[in-house]
């Protein structure tokens, strides 16, 4: 099993048809998959907060959006997630490459990596942490719930996840 392919299948099975991305090394295979899918509009954004806004607009236009980012981007997304998504009950699937945890070679990733689950918790955004075998189903389930309830769901994909096979 390939981690990027499983996440991509989860995105497709969930009916996601609009994806904003800000890169992470762990997303380097997934981003081109999304980009080349003819049924997904892919918008590379300059910053995660901007991407949250783009996704909100796409939702208002009838799309089912997701954003893919590194967890470092959570920091600049928080005001938008609260004062836009939460205020108007705008649903969103957030696929996060979770850095700064076990296996992280870059020390600068650690402080934000440790805080990321807490930030999601404070925002009342459920964080799903699937293993590779459950990734597709977990993404489907999380997306369905988020879009039915007008809420946001985060899929936190650890460093270990991207090394599974």
């Amino acid at each position: 099993m390939d981690p990027s392919e499983e996440v991509f299948k989860g995105i497709k099975e969930s009916g996601i048809d609009f994806v904003v991305s800000v890169p992470c090394a762990n997303l380097q295979k997934l981003i081109p998959m999304v980009d080349s899918d003819p049924d997904i509009i892919h918008v590379p954004a300059t910053r995660e907060e901007e991407g949250i806004g783009i996704c909100a607009g796409a939702y208002m236009g009838g799309k089912k959006p997701a954003i893919m980012m590194q967890n470092s981007g959570m920091g600049n997304s928080i005001n938008a997630l609260a004062s836009l998504n939460r205020l108007y009950n705008i649903p969103l699937l957030i696929i996060i490459s979770h850095r700064g945890i076990e296996g992280e070679p870059i020390c600068a990733q650690v402080p934000m990596g440790e805080k990321t689950p807490h930030l999601l918790e404070v925002l009342d955004i459920p964080a799903y942490k699937p293993h590779l075998v459950q990734a597709k189903k977990t993404i489907e389930k999380a997306t369905k719930k988020a879009f039915e309830e007008g809420k946001q769901a985060a899929i936190l994909l650890s460093i270990g996840f991207w090394r599974e096979s």
Binding site: T46, G57, M60, K63, L84, Y88
Partner: protein, 189 residues
């Protein structure tokens, strides 16, 4: 001309059309609500900086509809990367109108960088937006709104707000009625 005057012209030109309008946080939304409230106005009550991004996402999702986002100089300065994304996506149904009064109008008219050396028209051009214009009087604004369907229109105005009431709509109502117009029938809520 202050922002209110620009919004009056915008409402006169777009109010009777089915253009989807994203209105920026604070006075821009409140003033537009006072001038011309309509279901197809989305009043962005929070998330300063994201009006241009919401407009872009909506325009890409609905290529069959005209989308116009009203932004301000302070807000664009907070999310300048948005201009680069808009330039590279360049949907031909999306016009970003930046009302540039050189001030943070909703927080006490503190000056912004555009009151100094920053030129948002040049920033938009540098970001790669192909269709960029700048106007500073009412007749030029009317003419540009008649001829520009996409790109970035910078409207230079004086700082100042009109005394207007708050918006008597809750967020759930704002988005519900907006989505009755903005999304395909099966998606409205």
């Amino acid at each position: 001309m202050i922002r209110y005057g620009a919004l009056e012209i915008l409402a006169e030109k777009e109010g009777d059309k089915d253009t989807l309008i994203i209105a920026n946080i604070g006075f821009p939304s409140k003033e537009l609500y006072e001038i011309c409230d309509r279901k197809a106005n989305f009043y962005m009550l929070g998330s300063m900086g994201l009006s241009s991004s919401i407009g872009l996402g909506l325009a890409l999702a609905r290529p069959d509809r005209k989308v116009l986002a009203i932004d301000g100089d302070g807000s664009v300065l907070m999310n300048m990367g948005s201009l680069a994304t808009i330039a590279n996506q360049h949907p031909d149904n999306y016009l970003l109108v930046i009302i540039d009064n050189g001030a943070y109008g909703s927080t006490g008219n503190q000056i912004t960088a555009t009151a100094g050396l920053t030129d948002l028209k040049e920033v938009a051009l540098g970001a790669g937006v192909q269709n960029v214009a700048m106007v500073s009087d009412k007749s030029d604004l009317k003419e540009k709104l008649d001829t520009m369907d996409s790109g970035v229109l910078v409207v230079k105005t004086e700082p100042g707000n009109k005394k207007v009431p708050v918006i008597h709509l809750c967020p759930a109502d704002i988005i519900k009625r907006f989505m009755e117009i903005s999304s395909p029938p099966s998606h409205s809520r």
